[in-house]
């Protein structure tokens, strides 16, 4: 189970990702407030979900690269079904698209936004939710309306 230090505000239960060499920066760079994607050093292509070889130029020279943290709300759903213990119902699942590359998207949750205020196309920005699990400090990238 996720352990929450008593000095921090309680965070909802989440199923956390298994960390690997390829995805570690994505899930942990939020500690520095950064959203990072694996990117090809040879051709500049953001390779997400991360794989060991660039899908565009087949280079193996890939490294995490920090993006702006901005995004556009591409689509969303207001989820009313209790699939698992987690956020209070209903909660918003969304796909956001990042400005850095056409079609570079993330499935995420929208926070700090009234459901009635959601509109496809609205500008969003990343915010992180911190979880400690054993040795791992994981920062889940969530999105909120741009300030």
């Amino acid at each position: 189970m996720t352990e929450t230090a008593s000095t921090e505000p309680a965070v909802p239960f989440r199923i956390l990702p298994a960390l690997t060499d390829l995805n570690r920066e994505f899930w942990t760079a939020g500690a520095r407030g950064e959203l990072r994607f694996l990117r090809c050093n040879a051709c500049g292509y953001y390779n997400h979900p991360p794989t060991p070889v660039c899908p565009r130029c087949h280079s193996k020279d890939l490294a995490p690269h920090t993006v702006s943290g901005q995004a556009t709300l591409h689509t969303y759903t207001v989820n009313h079904q209790a699939w698992m213990p987690g956020p209070e119902l209903p909660y918003v699942i969304a796909i956001v698209e990042l400005p850095e590359q056409e079609g570079l998207r993330l499935t995420t949750n929208i926070v700090n936004c009234a459901i009635d205020d959601l509109a496809i196309g609205m500008p969003m920005q990343v915010t992180f939710e911190h979880h400690t699990d054993g040795e791992d400090e994981i920062y889940i990238p969530l999105f909120e309306p741009e300030a």
Partner: protein
């Protein structure tokens, strides 16, 4: 002979087990019931069956998702096989049937028994679908990996929200409405009332649809199919064996299996459509027939929106035009519609037989064996389409060549 070798294959027989919300029967028994019924329907015996294909093969998770694998059936019926294949990596559930067509056309087998067997109703029991989600709905030390790494941490473990995201994007781009989408479940329920094997047969009105509880907007409970127990089997045979068959078979006119976009629920290039776009385009490139020739469509409705995407992909209306096409429901009506849709009730009302139910129904209709739900006017051309998201496989079928 045409260069498209699927034209040398036919569907010679179909069969189904008992189907129910929760049967609490041995899933292998259900599987064998369906297989033996299909073999008998084709006028064959187990000695004639020299191939077996299935989707997805043996799996213990999610519970009830697979009732048997190829070798279970091969051993249970003591089959002697020239070819066999089972697996989840395929162009949708009917990809297994298309594999069988290719094997028959290649001469590896003459009569391939294809089956799909589910017992999700019993396996889920009273615990509901959430009990089948990765992590068991409980968590503990479970960590998400693979493609679920990108959805589970956001409490999106089910295809319901994944498809809802696509539906919402379609609504946004094209002005599609819930009233238009709702014609798919309402039509399915109307047809299910005439199907003695359907799960839900009570009439459903537009008010019922609009007022039922939401699952993931814009998808409500009635946009989601119903888990059930049951098995479906079909026999794929070579055209050269037609003299050995009990009845004139259904001909495989063309198949579609393409996957050209990213195999992902959120990275696919256009979230208002799915892999069905590419499978359908490929299918139409393998036949002289066109969408205008099709007289009935049996299309995957694990969620209503998937059937909408198939309608557009197959060209029964333009991309983005399914809303107006569905408006009022007349176009898809079993009796008098330009394109009778899911004439058995689909998975929405006849149960989540997972792809094979659509092929079973298309053949049943083309044989004129639909009973009370038979499409009037002796339809001769139909399609069976299965799979959503990155999964898509389709067959164009004719009652004679």
């Amino acid at each position: 002979m045409s260069k498209f070798i699927e034209k040398s294959t036919v569907i010679s027989g179909v069969g189904q087990s008992a189907i129910g919300r929760r049967l609490f029967r041995d899933p292998l028994e259900l599987t064998l019931d369906a297989c033996l019924a299909a073999i008998e329907d084709a006028g064959l015996t187990t000695k004639d069956i020299d191939g077996v294909a299935t989707y997805p093969g043996p799996m213990s998770v999610p519970p009830g998702f697979s009732g048997a694998g190829v070798v279970d059936v091969q051993d249970a019926l003591r089959l002697e096989l020239g070819w066999w294949s089972g697996g989840i990596e395929a162009p949708g559930q009917l990809g297994s049937v298309i594999n069988a067509c290719l094997a028959v056309a290649a001469g590896l087998a003459n009569h391939v028994l294809c089956f799909r067997s589910v017992w999700e109703g019993s396996a889920q029991g009273t615990k509901g679908r959430a009990s089948t989600m990765p992590g068991g709905g409980g968590g503990g030390s479970f960590r998400a990996s693979g493609f679920m790494e990108w959805t589970l941490p956001f409490a999106a473990p089910s295809a319901a929200p994944w498809i809802a995201l696509m539906a919402q994007r379609h609504f946004y781009e094209f002005g599609t409405t819930r009233e238009q989408l709702g014609q798919i479940p309402i039509n399915a329920r109307k047809n299910a009332a005439l199907n003695p094997n359907a799960i839900y047969t009570d009439p459903m009105t537009m008010d019922d649809y609009l007022n039922v509880r939401m699952v993931s907007s814009p998808l409500s409970l009635y946009d989601c199919d119903v888990p059930c127990d049951g098995a479906t089997a079909v026999i794929v045979s070579h055209v050269d064996t037609i003299p050995d068959l009990r009845k004139p078979p259904v001909h495989v006119e063309a198949v579609g299996t393409a996957l050209r976009g990213r195999p992902s629920w959120d990275q696919f290039d256009d979230l208002t459509t799915m892999a069905c776009r590419d499978a359908a385009a490929q299918l139409w490139g393998r036949t002289e027939l066109t969408a205008a020739d099709v007289q009935l469509a049996e299309m995957y409705d694990g969620f209503s929106f998937i059937a909408l995407a198939w309608l557009e992909a197959m060209g029964f209306c333009g991309h983005g035009e399914a809303g107006p096409f569905l408006e009022g429901g007349q176009n898809i009506a079993r009796d008098g519609g330009v394109l009778p849709l899911n004439t058995h009730g689909g998975q929405l009302s006849a149960g989540r037989l997972h792809g094979y139910g659509f092929l079973h129904e298309a053949c049943t209709q083309l044989w004129g064996e639909g009973g009370a739900r038979q499409v009037p006017g002796h339809p001769e051309v139909g399609v069976a389409c299965a799979g959503g998201g990155p999964l898509a496989g389709a067959l164009l079928l004719t009652s004679h060549r």
